[in-house]
Amino acid sequence: MTDSLKTLILFFPHAVAAGVAISVVCTLLGVFTILKNVVFVGVALSEVAACGIALGMTWHIQPFVGAVALTAAAVAALSYPFEMHRIPRDAVLGVIFVFASALGILVVSKSGFGLHEVKGLLYGDLILTSQGDLNVILAVLVPVLIYFLCFMRPTLYTFLDRESAKIMGIRTALWEFLYFFALGLTVSAASKAAGAILIFCFLVVAPAAGLLLSRRLGWVMLISLCGGLGSTFVGFYWSFRCDLPVNQAISVTACIWFGVAATVRFIQWMASRLSACMKQRR
């Protein structure tokens, strides 16, 4: 396996570097996405970014610019505190998802793109990551990672207990907006290489496994990170050995990891029930 991975890194250094960067940032942001109960924000923003890329390609502007512009607009709408109003944030997410995916297909259908470009737009292909794509990914994801690690505390407090945080002087609206903006930028930068499914996988599957295995935030983040990175390398290896599409191989590997975590959790739960029963009998 080591030899295959070495060959992979040698022949596709950009793909591996992009995969690592996307998995690290998305899994860390994903823990908070799950805790905030906005899991579908990942898939909605991926569709918005894909729509932005399609618009950018049709209008001959930098696809990343199109993705960022549209994602920023979606993020501004999403960071509004919908909890206080008649419709939940999920409903707005649904509207954004439907609009972006339908508009993306309409734009693509009226453009002169071939099937290959359309597939690339919708599903991405990590293995085709170019030096230019990697530069964009690193230029966006490294600052996002620094922001997230530096300001995790106010972001966590905002998500954990918004009203108490506000009373403590935390600018909750600002931190919420910054989180969603960082998430939007990450999704925009990663969309072209990773595609909607892989981004959603990193945002949800690996962090969900982390949350199943621990009740401490530090450990949850570490387990999620390891799960994301492990799935990336195993997925690359699997795809290389069996000639499979890399994004889907990584996604399936992450889901298998989630299955393992769920099984471990179930065994832990059974063991604790059993021990409680034994204590009661004594």
């Binding site: 799950i34 805790l35 109960n37 530096c150 300001f151 505390r153 106010p154 966590l156 407090y157 954990l160 207990d161 009203e163 108490s164 945080a165 506000k166 009373i167 403590m168 002087g169 935390i170 949350l211 621990s214 009740r215 401490r216 935030l217 450990w219 949850v220």
Partner: protein, 236 residues
């Protein structure tokens, strides 16, 4: 309507306050002064407007008319929400929740120093949370969660403490202990405590004055069926 002069310095002054949600009026022409160092339960049936009044004092609800004047710094305000306000899904420990109360002192990066850690440990010990600091908040009992939230509000040593049904999940003994601790805070350290409570046992209440909230109207009354005090406010 005339208000007799308060004997003590007012820490909160509410002037002709109206709060509306859509067409329904929750608070109607409320005026009152809350003196410093008072332990003041806000009492009334469910839906009477207790929480709305407290949330307006906290600045979480913008009034339709009128104003709430505060003479203390915003960072001197501690708040205990109902324990349901924190999702059990969060992988945070009781100790981490209490440490959240130190945010005004620590900011986004700093770690607590020795004095802050000692303060935190002392408070957790006083509230009977010994040995629970490392436990996941979501796995604690309702009463323990409530105590953790009270500890979070107290750790920053605020001047004014606002609590929304703080003892609703506690058993009788724990409720009495917590109320006693809060009234001691008022007496010894001059802290002002305002709490919403729909079923407070007035005989057990460590206070002589309560604020009765009933369908938008608010008045201060002496507990234990004594006649209304010399004002401090109310509405017609």
């Amino acid at each position: 309507m005339s208000y007799p002069k308060p004997q003590q310095e007012s820490i909160i002054k509410i002037e002709r306050l109206f709060v509306r949600y859509g067409r329904s009026e929750i608070l109607h022409d409320v005026s009152m002064e809350i003196p410093k160092g008072l332990f003041l339960p806000f009492m009334g049936p469910n839906g009477a407007g207790k929480t709305t009044l407290l949330r307006t004092i906290l600045g979480l609800i913008r009034p339709s008319a009128g104003k709430v004047l505060k003479t203390f710094h915003p960072s001197d305000l501690g708040y205990v929400p109902q324990q349901r306000s924190i999702d059990n899904l969060y992988p945070v420990t009781a100790g981490q929740i209490v440490m959240m109360g130190l945010y005004p002192e620590l900011g986004p990066w700093r770690r607590p120093n020795r004095e802050q850690k000692e303060r935190l440990n002392r408070l957790m010990e006083e509230l009977g949370l010994n040995g629970h600091a490392g436990k996941a908040f979501g796995e604690l009992s309702g009463g323990m969660k409530q105590k953790v939230l009270i500890a979070r509000a107290l750790v920053a040593e605020p001047e004014v403490l606002v609590m929304d049904e703080p003892t609703s999940e506690l058993d009788e003994q724990s409720e009495r202990d917590v109320l006693h601790k809060l009234s001691t805070l008022c007496e010894k350290r001059g802290k002002t405590v305002l709490l919403a409570h729909h079923g407070l046992d007035m005989k057990a209440a460590p206070t002589s004055t309560v604020c009765r909230v009933d369908h938008g109207s608010v008045r201060l009354v002496q507990s234990k069926n004594e006649p209304e005090p010399d004002g401090r406010g109310g509405n017609p």
